[in-house]
């Protein structure tokens, strides 16, 4: 194949994204030097950033630090340092990069990160975090708080689940008041929730623009650019301004009929996080085929808003609980994830699905083989399954992954040339899947021989 075509749009939002993220690191630096603002460690998945706004606290996301190291090809040293300490080869590589970086004093911005006022383990969907944050608290000499969010085992969370999480949020507020010596500002918190609702509305509309052909942006690779501000600034006026600008720029692209490439050839849904150590070459593998991700589950780890959920300033604590329990991909059950992807294929008009299995993340990746079977055998959607890692460069074999990607797109191209490739609803072998074929929570999938 020829060189990968240039696939990125450069608008005002790209500069603003850089500025916002730089400002975030400046605040972390200020916190490290003066203790003001206080920093609180949080987990991205179903994060409760709004709560921190009520204290004027700055979030510290270990995943963001880890992926920043990976993108800059600096993740292997800290991973090896953690392994020397005794972390096993198949431990989560995010954990090893984070712990190893702490031991070696490596930080994304080069300046020391603050000691968190609180390591808040908002345990959503990933049980590895329980130990990760416990270790992080130990290594950093910081207090640890557990926020136990029950895994979503029914279609909707029960009233008891919501109440259980809300009571814990109140406890965290009291704990943070004691630790920081600051009073929780209820008005500021409510305002943060209001900001979040506006950001979520803009973000959701941006994602829905990807239903257009051509899609104005890549809902996997470009979405990652927007995810930094989404998690750090969602509850702030800066976040609102940024996402409303992003929406405007994307709407302008749609009005101009502008996609990512001169011609959008394939539309795919991507499941799983990217291989951050090889982010560029992974993107090029799609760009070579002028393939756009029109939707992705990874962009819903922090929150799933395109199907309608919004934080509610009239019920701030309850909506935080609901978000953590039910409206992020990690805390939802597997069949709900299937249904999410199926809707993407149908409503976002996709040709196929690419599943990226992450070797060091058993929790998110377990079951993806069955997921592949469900989409290929039961729904008849072309689905590619590839394996590497999100953080550990040792698991990425470029030649092997490229070979599979090329074969997948060659097959789609060949099928299109003979008229057998279907897109969107027509790609589903059972167009009425929404009614009869889709798995629902609690229903056992039919296992084929």
């Amino acid at each position: 194949m020829s060189e990968a075509p240039r696939s990125e749009y450069r608008g005002q939002i790209h500069q603003q994204q850089k500025d916002l993220m730089l400002h975030w690191y400046e605040r972390l630096d200020e916190s490290a030097r003066t203790g003001n603002p206080p920093a609180v460690s949080l987990m991205i998945s179903g994060n409760c950033i709004e709560l921190l706004e009520g204290f004027g606290a700055v979030p510290l996301y270990p995943e963001v630090n880890a992926l920043q190291l990976a993108i800059r090809h600096q993740s292997l040293d800290p991973i090896l340092a953690a392994e020397e300490l005794g972390y096993a080869a198949d431990n989560c590589a995010y954990v090893k990069a984070d712990i190893g970086a702490m031991i070696k004093g490596i930080t994304p911005a080069g300046t020391p990160l603050p000691t968190p006022a609180l390591v808040l383990c908002n345990f959503v969907g990933c049980n590895t975090y329980v130990k990760w944050f416990e270790h992080a608290a130990e290594f950093q000499g910081a207090p640890l708080a557990m926020l136990d969010v029950p895994f979503l085992r029914t279609a909707e969370p029960r009233a008891e689940d919501i109440d259980y999480v809300v009571r814990q949020l109140h406890e965290i507020v009291r704990q943070l008041e004691q630790i920081t010596g600051r009073r929780f500002d209820m008005d500021r918190f409510r305002e943060a929730v209001r900001c979040s609702a506006r950001v979520e509305e803009a973000w959701s509309r941006i994602k829905n623009l990807a239903r257009r052909t051509p899609s104005p942006f890549d809902a996997y690779f470009d979405a990652i650019t927007l995810m930094g501000p989404l998690y750090v600034y969602r509850g702030s006026p800066e976040g609102v301004a940024f996402f409303e600008l992003a929406l405007k720029e994307m709407e302008e692209k749609v009005a101009r009929g502008e996609g990512i490439y001169d011609q959008e050839k394939f539309r795919v849904v991507i499941e799983g996080p990217p291989p951050y150590p090889f982010f560029r070459s992974f993107r090029d593998m799609f760009a070579t085929w002028k393939a756009t991700a029109v939707a992705s589950t990874y962009s819903t780890v922090g929150g799933l808003w395109e199907f309608g959920f919004r934080h509610d300033p009239d019920h701030p604590f309850e909506s935080l609980a609901l978000h953590m329990l039910a409206h992020n991909v990690t805390n939802r059950n597997y069949l709900q994830r299937y249904e999410q992807i199926r809707r993407y294929v149908e409503e976002w008009d996709a040709d196929g699905i690419v599943i990226h299995f992450v070797k060091s993340c058993r929790l998110f990746s377990a079951g993806q083989g069955d997921m592949r079977d469900y989409f290929t055998r039961q729904l008849g959607v072309p689905t590619l399954y590839i394996e590497s890692d999100l953080e550990d460069p040792r698991y990425f074999s470029e030649a092997q992954i490229k070979n599979r990607m090329d074969a997948f797109f060659e097959a789609l191209e060949h099928s299109r040339s003979i008229g057998t490739l279907r897109r969107g609803a027509a790609a589903l072998r059972h167009p009425a899947a929404g009614a009869g074929n889709a798995p629902v929570a609690g229903e056992r999938l039919k296992i084929l021989p």
């Binding site: 689905t383 074999s397 092997q400 074969a407 060949h414 057998t420």
Partner: protein, 278 residues
């Protein structure tokens, strides 16, 4: 006559096929050379040998599609395609009823689900591990001091095939040595080795729907012991022809004829180093 070529640069061997289109398709020549360390030269030598066998000049070949792991090293080719597409296309050409392809090569094995037109519907491959590939068999042959050609027929003589528990290409050596130390016969050891690989390959293949007819391609298709072991595990017959080894190159050549269309461009043959081609 319009001429096109497919060159399949595998990890162990390079296969080249020349096809002609004179209203109907004809396989005019084919060649097989060891890939060795110089991938580029192997591609050139294979291509030249296939041209010689076809009785045509390399200059008259209008389009070349390269495939196999070394495809990007083919300096004279027009385009590259993956061996997955090419094996599917080649197998479908050899056996039009093909719906599943099991390809076992030197360093990878794969199963491909194929549509009525030879299009790839789905595929799975071994991942970063040589278990279930030709390399595994080559290691076993080496430990037993046998040639690669001998192990297949010998494995068919097994009366009490041993149980090979490892599918690791490295650790199988110690398994074999320990069976030899126990006085097991080479044929029984080989029977076990072939069955172990067959089971692993079929468990991989079951991830795509296995539908009849099942065609085996790749270098390992020449190993009769492997063909029989796969048939035993599957409980059904495999389609294996004398050209199965060339399926990837044949598929590549068919794509080449198609891609060439009517625009014949002579003289694409520009070897990187003219000295060694004379």
């Amino acid at each position: 006559m319009r001429l096109a070529a497919g060159v399949d640069v595998g990890s162990t061997q390079t296969k080249a096929v020349i096809v002609g289109d004179n209203g109907g398709l004809q396989m005019l020549g084919r060649a097989l050379v060891d890939t060795g360390a110089n991938v580029q030269r192997a591609a050139e030598n294979g291509f030249i040998a296939a041209c010689q066998q076809a009785g045509v000049s390399p200059q008259d070949v209008g389009y070349v599609v390269g495939t196999g792991y070394g495809r990007y090293k083919i300096t004279f080719g027009n385009t590259q395609m993956t061996e997955i597409s090419c094996h599917a296309r080649g197998a479908h050409y050899l056996f039009p009823a093909t719906r599943t392809v099991i390809d076992m090569g030197g360093q990878d094995s794969k199963a491909i689900s194929v549509g009525a037109e030879g299009e790839v519907l789905d595929f799975v491959m071994n991942d970063k591990c040589a278990a279930g590939t030709g390399r595994f068999l080559a290691n076993a042959a080496e430990v037993l001091g046998l040639g690669l050609d001998e192990i297949g027929p010998l494995s068919l003589e097994a009366r009490h095939p041993v149980k090979i528990t490892t599918v690791c290409t490295v650790f199988v050596e110690s398994d074999i040595l320990s069976y030899l130390a126990q006085g097991k016969k080479p044929e029984d050891i080989l029977g076990g080795v072939h069955l172990a690989i067959a089971r692993r390959t079929i468990s991989l293949a079951r991830r795509v729907p296995i539908e009849q007819a099942i065609t085996m391609t790749g270098g390992v298709s020449r190993n009769i012991g492997m063909v029989r072991a796969l048939e035993q595990v599957l409980g059904t017959k495999l389609e294996v022809g004398p050209d199965a080894h060339f399926a990837g190159a044949i598929g590549a050549a068919l794509f080449a004829i198609e891609k060439m269309g009517e625009s014949f461009e002579s003289g694409i043959w520009r070897p990187a180093d003219a000295a060694h081609t004379s």
